[in-house]
């Protein structure tokens, strides 16, 4: 299989994630879209490692780091979602427009 299949798949996932980050209304939806983008990055790294740009081991170790950072990001993001709901009593991001609630 050529590497183009995997790369095109990664591009489509990345674009779906960008669309979701901008167009979603709830904070948890935005977090899911950010995870989509990170997964597209993982797919690209593994593909480029297999098809001879960086070494295979290095690409897999970097993907491990990205997965760990994604877990951290989700934990902090969900805590923020809880705090925002507790302060504003609503979860629509387009209606939360003031700082220092």
């Amino acid at each position: 299989m050529s590497s183009y299949y995997y790369l095109i798949l990664g591009v489509v996932i990345f674009i779906l994630g960008i669309y979701g980050i901008i167009a979603r209304r709830t904070l948890i939806g935005v977090l899911i879209s950010a995870e989509l983008i990170l997964n597209a990055a993982n797919l690209n790294l593994l593909t480029l490692g297999r098809f001879g740009f960086i070494s295979v081991r290095q690409s897999q170790v970097i993907v491990l780091f990205i997965i760990a950072l994604a877990a951290c990001e989700t934990a902090v993001g969900l805590a923020l979602a809880l705090a925002i709901y507790r302060i504003f009593k609503k979860s629509d991001l387009t209606q939360i427009s003031e700082l220092k609630g």
Partner: protein, 161 residues
Amino acid sequence: MVLGFNVLFFYFLAFFLLVGGALAVTLKSIFQSLLSFAVFLLSLAGIFLLLQAEVIGLIQILVYVGGIVALIIFTLMLIPRVEEGGNRGWLYSLPALAFLILFLSIFKSAKLTPIFRSETVSFFTLSRVLLSDFMFPLELIGVIIVASFITAYAISRREKS
């Protein structure tokens, strides 16, 4: 041309991957979008198996499907009422279109090698690379994990008053 098992498996997984991802960013109910995100993650783990990254596929299932999706479900339980708004209008898909044009122009000028390097990477080799070449990033990631979990606890804590 005879379609190999790999190609058929790839198309099968790519179908579920794209449908799951598209539903995850468009569905109105946040819980249903979370479930389609789980389908997306599982099929992405299958794609990782096709790329001969078995360790990464296993960790993907463990951390994402077992950890992150479960964490988001718990948060959905803690938030009493999540409004089920749809997406914003079509105007907000223009940045994604801009990225599509950017990537197409990159693809037109890219030169990629068609050689698939089949090198097996086991848990053992991966941990050896992790503890020799990537020692400093590993410790840095440990510090970042501790800091982010303390931050998450401090933000989501209920204040007594």
